[in-house]
């Protein structure tokens, strides 16, 4: 997936720090938390982008809120606040995750199914699709979707592998109507 140029730059810088300090896993985990905080609290980004609120106060607030995260992550957040790039935080996290996935040879995948998948099924999917896209394994996020009727739909990045019953019926309909 492609992100804004700015987000990529910050993510790349943070990524090289993480690699130098051998903290790839830890920092990625922290960033995921940061992202979920930002996504769950919409008010946070509104507040951070408010010009009436001084930069120092924003930084104090961030320091307090993310007191538990490691120094590089916190510094990144503070730096972005200084540079008025608060709106890019989620983008930076996404870009970082992509970089680290790239480095470890794994990919994110969204698997749509009618019922929750078992661990065994997940590993099987991971094994077969990872080979297909030339990665070692997949990090699977299972989405329950009744509308697909049956089968599986796997989304890796911007590519969709559609093996659902709904999709097949759709295509059949098109062929018949034509």
């Amino acid at each position: 997936m492609s992100y804004s140029t700015v987000a990529k730059r910050y993510a790349l810088a943070l990524f090289s720090i993480a690699k130098e300090q051998n903290q790839l896993e830890a920092i990625e985990q922290e960033l995921r938390t940061v992202k979920s905080v930002f996504i769950q609290n919409k008010e946070l980004s509104i507040l951070l982008e408010n010009p009436k609120f001084s930069t120092d106060k924003k930084k104090d607030m961030l320091k307090e809120a993310f007191s538990s995260v490691s120094v590089p992550v916190l510094n990144t957040l503070l730096l972005m606040t200084d540079r008025h790039r608060e709106d890019q935080v989620v983008g930076v996290v996404d870009a970082f995750i992509e970089l680290s996935n790239e480095a470890r040879g794994i990919a994110e995948a969204k698997v749509y199914s009618v019922r929750a998948l078992t661990e065994d099924e997940k590993t099987a999917i991971s094994a077969s699709f990872a080979k297909r896209i030339g990665k070692q394994s997949l990090r699977i996020e299972n989405v329950i979707d009744e509308n697909i009727l049956g089968g599986l739909k796997v989304r890796i990045g911007n590519r969709i592998y559609d093996g659902t019953l709904a999709g097949k019926l759709d295509r059949l309909e098109r062929e018949l109507v034509r």
Partner: protein, 502 residues
């Protein structure tokens, strides 16, 4: 047509049996911005420039701008129900239009879909709308004439098959009439005509179609229309769709005439798209590649070599000028691409010279070699006569005492102008054109009053039809002039029966 339920059921059963239950792999993106017929999508990795993409509601789009974070897409259809966040899917195809004989006689839009209410078109083949032009070795120099049936054009600015001749002029100077007349004259010439109406009023297109139908020209004509009500992408694509349909015929050895009415509207539509796609504007706010827009289109008109079947596409692009300004951006571009131009002038038009062709500014760079021998002989001095007349005309308005030579030149000029006038939708065979030009240039019309010239022409030509068909046949079959004596005798014979009006 009878439909049998069992047959359909059997068909469906077969399709279901053979239905591949394999997974469908597709690349998708997300619409992040939509409006003005343009969408921007995030994602869509590996999409190709010009590739067709499909929105979730089935509307197609064409990927135009490939940027780092997003793809600019022009939407080919209704864009009202596409929303931000919708899915866009790659199709892996580039845009194609249906081609083939089945299209002849139909009115279609830029996508090749029928708009004349005569039901679906059973075409079996398609062609990509963007394709390379024939190369150097595939071509042959233009040598066969394309008779437009318009005296002023066939004599002064002859057009050959495979030529690209620009028709340029202000609005309301009869550009469309020239094209329609040229199409009408292609009857029995084994030509396929394609009339591409870009940004015209639906009523105008309807009129043109009716004129063609009335004169039986729709039997060999395809009308491609992208009316003023269509979104800009359709206007931009219409000429490409038109020439693509023509190429199919050209490559099978046929001769095709394509009329683009008009390219300035296409350029405006392209400017609109480009500005909305945020491409940098240049002169007159046109994008940088507006020259390429027209050059790649007009380069596809060609005369193919014998090895390639010898087919041809003749292109008659139109450009509308503002107040006769041919040095504006689009006119200069298209003039430099084409092999000559026919310049229509509004003051000529209003002074009654119709078609209002300005003989001085109109040229044909290659058509001369495509004229038949007889026409070459009789039209050789025509241009000079006209030029001399125009020069003297202004001058002679002051004095009344003119020497004989000047008087003669003025007389001849006035008659030449008269002869070049022609009624709407009345194209004339080349042999008849030769006869009237012969009478003019050899001085046989000098003693006919100027006001009687057009009546003389009409009566003379119908008299020839009845009394001297051998002269007309001679010109048609040998392409050369009959003996001077025979011609002179025929003209004098007719003149004896002609009653002057004064």
């Amino acid at each position: 047509m009878s439909i049998k339920a069992e047959e359909i059921s059997a068909l469906i059963k077969k399709q279901i049996e053979n239905y591949q239950s394999e997974m469908k792999v597709s690349d998708v993106g997300t619409v992040i911005q939509i409006g003005d017929g343009i969408a921007r999508a995030h994602g869509l990795d590996n999409v190709m420039a010009g590739e067709l993409v499909e929105f979730s509601n089935g509307v197609m789009g064409m990927a135009q701008n490939l940027e780092e974070n997003n793809v600019g897409i022009i939407i080919l259809g209704p864009f009202k129900d596409i929303r931000e966040g919708d899915e866009v899917r790659r199709t892996g195809r580039i845009m194609e239009v249906p081609v083939g004989q089945e299209l002849v006689g139909r009115v279609v839009n830029s996508l090749g879909q029928p708009v004349d209410g005569l039901g679906p078109i059973a075409t079996t083949r398609t062609r990509p709308i963007e394709g390379g032009a024939p190369g150097v070795m595939d071509r042959k120099s233009v040598h066969e004439p394309l008779q437009t049936g318009i005296k002023a054009i066939d004599a002064l600015v002859p057009i050959g098959r495979g030529q690209r001749e620009l028709i340029i002029g202000d609005r309301q100077t009869g550009k469309t009439s020239v094209a329609i007349d040229s199409i009408l004259n292609q009857k029995d010439q084994d030509m396929i005509c394609i009339y591409v109406a870009i940004g015209q009023k639906e009523s105008t297109v309807r009129n043109a179609v009716e004129t063609l139908r009335k004169h039986g020209a729709l039997d060999y004509t395809i009308v491609v229309t992208a009316s003023a009500a269509s979104p800009a992408p359709m206007l931009f694509l219409a000429p490409y769709a038109g020439i693509t349909m023509g190429e199919e015929f050209m490559h099978s050895g046929k001769h095709v005439l394509v009329v683009y009415d008009d390219l300035s509207k296409q350029a405006s539509a392209y400017r609109e798209l480009s500005l909305l796609l945020r491409r940098p504007p240049g002169r007159e706010a046109f994008p940088g590649d507006v020259f390429y827009l027209h050059s790649r289109l007009l380069e596809r008109a060609a005369k193919l070599s014998d090895a390639k079947g010898g087919g041809s596409i003749t292109a008659l692009p139109f450009v509308e000028t503002q107040a006769g300004d041919i040095s504006a951006y689009i006119p200069t571009n298209v003039i430099s691409i084409t092999d000559g131009q026919i310049f229509l002038q509004s003051d000529l038009f209003f002074s009654g010279v119709r078609p209002a062709i300005n003989a001085g500014l109109s040229v044909s760079r290659v058509g001369g070699s495509a004229q038949i021998k007889a026409m070459k002989k009789v039209s050789g001095t025509l241009r000079l006569d006209l030029a001399a007349y125009r020069e003297l005309e202004a001058f002679a308005q002051f004095g009344s005492d003119l020497d004989k030579a000047t008087q003669a030149k003025l007389n001849r000029g006035a008659r030449t102008v008269e002869v070049l006038k022609q009624d709407l939708n009345k194209p004339l065979n080349v042999e008849k054109q030769v006869m009237i030009f012969y009478s003019l240039t050899k001085g046989h019309l000098d003693d006919i009053p100027v006001t009687d010239i057009r009546r003389f022409e009409g009566e003379f030509l119908s008299w020839l039809d009845h009394n001297h068909t051998e002269l007309l046949d001679h010109i048609r079959t040998t392409k050369g002039l009959p003996e001077d004596d025979a011609m002179k005798a025929a003209i004098n014979e007719f003149k004896k029966t002609f009653v002057k009006s004064e």
